[in-house]
């Protein structure tokens, strides 16, 4: 049984096709990184999973049950666009209201627990409107965590978080899924951060799932490259460009050679041509570059 199983899902807004024959499988215990460009259909899909938008066709199953089933939906935590807090009330009051809504028996204890999880226990008395963007995101995640949900659907939860906030979120995500029963669907444009926690990925484009894979599969798919720095970068790039099929200069100023080669071979080649290599290393492309490559292929 999977946490989320979507088959042939579609949704139109007027004449615009937002989601088109989408298939998606989120295994239990997975942190599913849901990636795509703006307007690719991520949020629409997430809203359909949460029952916020009626589907235009296809099926969504959550833990083997239809997504409209009240029992399974009671165990879905969500953060989509806004945290769902009333700005005039304090963080604590907002949390308690959500706990009341969810009929949590020992509400105060539960609220304290989730506020601690997102490191917001010290700011519980703050009015929501006075919280910073990062704090609001954390409160939103805390709200989603109330009631011990089996599935969390988080739309851009890392937006607005500082480095420490992102680290905390990574810890929280890892902690949630560690029992192997709970799952998280998380969409984010911060692919570097997502790669640090995601166990599975789904890449969506124009409303269609173009790739689904595990973190291990991504690792295998990511090409290795040799990155070098030399005393004469322009000449080195030109020389390497003649010998190898794909040579690029990255943002950090390194020349990357993506072909199957060894550092020794490159050093020897450049040395023969009178160029001294000052720095050399081998590495793999990350999720971000993989995604960009995939998008380029699509274009």
């Amino acid at each position: 049984m999977n946490a989320v199983e979507i088959r042939n899902l579609s949704k139109n807004f007027g004449s615009k096709q937002a989601v088109c024959g989408l298939n998606m499988t989120v295994p239990m215990g997975a942190i599913y990184g849901f990636i795509g460009e703006n307007g690719s259909g991520k949020s629409t899909t997430e809203k359909m999973i949460c029952g916020l938008i009626p589907t235009g066709g296809g099926s969504i199953k959550l833990y083997g049950k239809d997504y409209t089933d009240g029992d399974v939906r009671a165990k879905v935590g969500v953060l989509i666009e806004a945290p769902g807090c009333f700005k005039g009330l304090s963080v604590w009051d907002n949390m308690m209201l959500q706990a009341t809504n969810l009929n949590i028996p020992d509400a105060e204890k539960e609220v304290v627990k989730v506020l601690k999880m997102v490191r917001m226990e010290g700011a519980a008395g703050n009015k929501f409107k006075n919280c910073s963007l990062g704090m609001k995101q954390r409160v939103g995640i805390a709200m989603a965590l109330l009631g011990n949900p089996t599935l969390l659907v988080l739309d851009e939860p890392l937006n607005g978080l500082d480095a420490d906030g992102m680290r905390i979120m990574r810890e929280v995500f890892t902690d949630i899924v560690k029992d192997g029963k709970r799952s998280i669907v998380v969409s984010s444009h911060l692919l570097g951060e997502l790669q640090k926690v995601a166990t599975h990925y789904g890449i969506i484009r124009h409303g269609k799932m173009i790739k689904e894979m595990t973190a291990d599969e991504l690792d295998t798919s990511c090409r290795t490259y040799v990155a070098i720095q030399t005393a004469d970068m322009n000449r080195a790039k030109s020389l390497l460009g003649c010998k190898y099929s794909r040579v690029e200069e990255d943002e950090a100023g390194y020349i990357r050679v993506y072909d199957m080669t060894t550092p020794e071979e490159i050093v020897a080649y450049l040395y023969e041509n009178g160029i001294c290599v000052t720095e050399i290393m081998t590495d793999k492309i990350g999720l971000e570059e993989y995604y960009i490559d995939l998008m380029k292929e699509g274009n």
Partner: protein, 280 residues
């Protein structure tokens, strides 16, 4: 697979769900200034209307009083479905106009804050939302009726109007109007569910329906068809007007039936619309 077996999915019962939602909505109602502002408005408006009718004009002459009796500020002397003067209009029915605006703001906050996204994700049953809002908003309107009563009586007494009245008819009229709050609150909840994306339009629509402008058109149709004017009592505005200073126990019965019937209709329609439409 063992892990799968341990997962239990059970949603709370209807009563628990409704209790939870009502708890949230009542808490919000009592902990936001909006409710108290509207209570104050409901008290001040009748007091101002009655006091202003006794003020001298620019030439220093005392204006002709709009009312002859304190209780006309609360309910009209007879069922006036189509009004002729502001005095015919300015009675407790005005609460249903302020109430409509209050409901628009209350429900508008639900959508603008993203609260409904949280709510409808975990609460698949949309009728809970309709019921909870209708109950809480009806309660708020009932409270506004009471502050209107207090403000109206205080203003009327200060203005020196007579207190003479048929007590039983007055009590029935007040109770009738308070009971009509249930139907009006459901109408406004329904309107705001339909117009949830357009906050300004939802306020305008609440105002439009609250003023009972539509009843003028219906009254003309009723007259052309030679139907009795009491036919208009099947509408919320008609029944609200019918609860006047010549009311009898039958009037109260009509108010209860009409208010509850429209509340059910609007709740069912609202639930259907919510179930079939997107949550923004």
């Amino acid at each position: 697979m063992d892990a799968n077996k341990e997962l239990k999915f059970e949603s709370p019962s209807f009563s628990k769900r409704l209790k939870g939602m009502l708890g949230v909505d009542f808490y919000r109602l009592f902990h936001t200034p909006m409710f108290y502002i509207f209570l104050a408005i409901a008290a001040i408006i009748p007091a101002m209307v009655s006091a202003m009718t006794m003020m001298p004009d620019q030439n220093g002459n005392t204006m002709e009083p709009l009312y002859s009796n304190v209780w006309q500020i609360i309910a009209a002397s007879e069922p006036l479905y189509v009004i002729n003067t502001i005095a015919d209009y300015a009675n407790m029915n005005m609460v249903f106009i302020f109430g409509g605006i209050m409901v628009s703001i209350f429900i508008g906050h639900d959508y603008r804050s993203g609260y409904v996204k949280q709510l409808f994700t975990t609460h698949a049953k949309k009728q809970d939302y309709m019921m909870s809002k209708s109950i809480v908003c009806a309660f708020a309107m009932m409270c506004m009726c009471i502050t209107y009563l207090l403000g109206g009586v205080a203003g009327g007494v200060l203005a020196g109007y007579s207190l003479e009245v048929n007590a039983s008819s007055l009590v029935i009229a007040i109770l009738g109007k308070i009971i009509m709050s249930i139907g009006w609150a459901s109408l406004y909840t329904f309107l705001n569910v339909i117009l949830r994306r357009y906050f300004g339009v939802s306020i305008a629509a609440s105002f439009f329906f609250g003023t009972g402008i539509l009843i003028i058109g219906v009254a003309a149709v009723v007259e052309n068809l030679s139907l009795p004017a009491s036919f208009l009592n099947i509408f919320l505005y008609g029944s609200s007007v019918n609860a006047c200073l010549v009311s009898n126990i039958g009037t109260l019965f009509v108010c209860i039936v009409v208010s509850v019937a429209w509340a059910v209709i609007y709740n069912v329609l609202g639930t259907k619309i919510l179930s079939k439409s997107d949550v923004y």
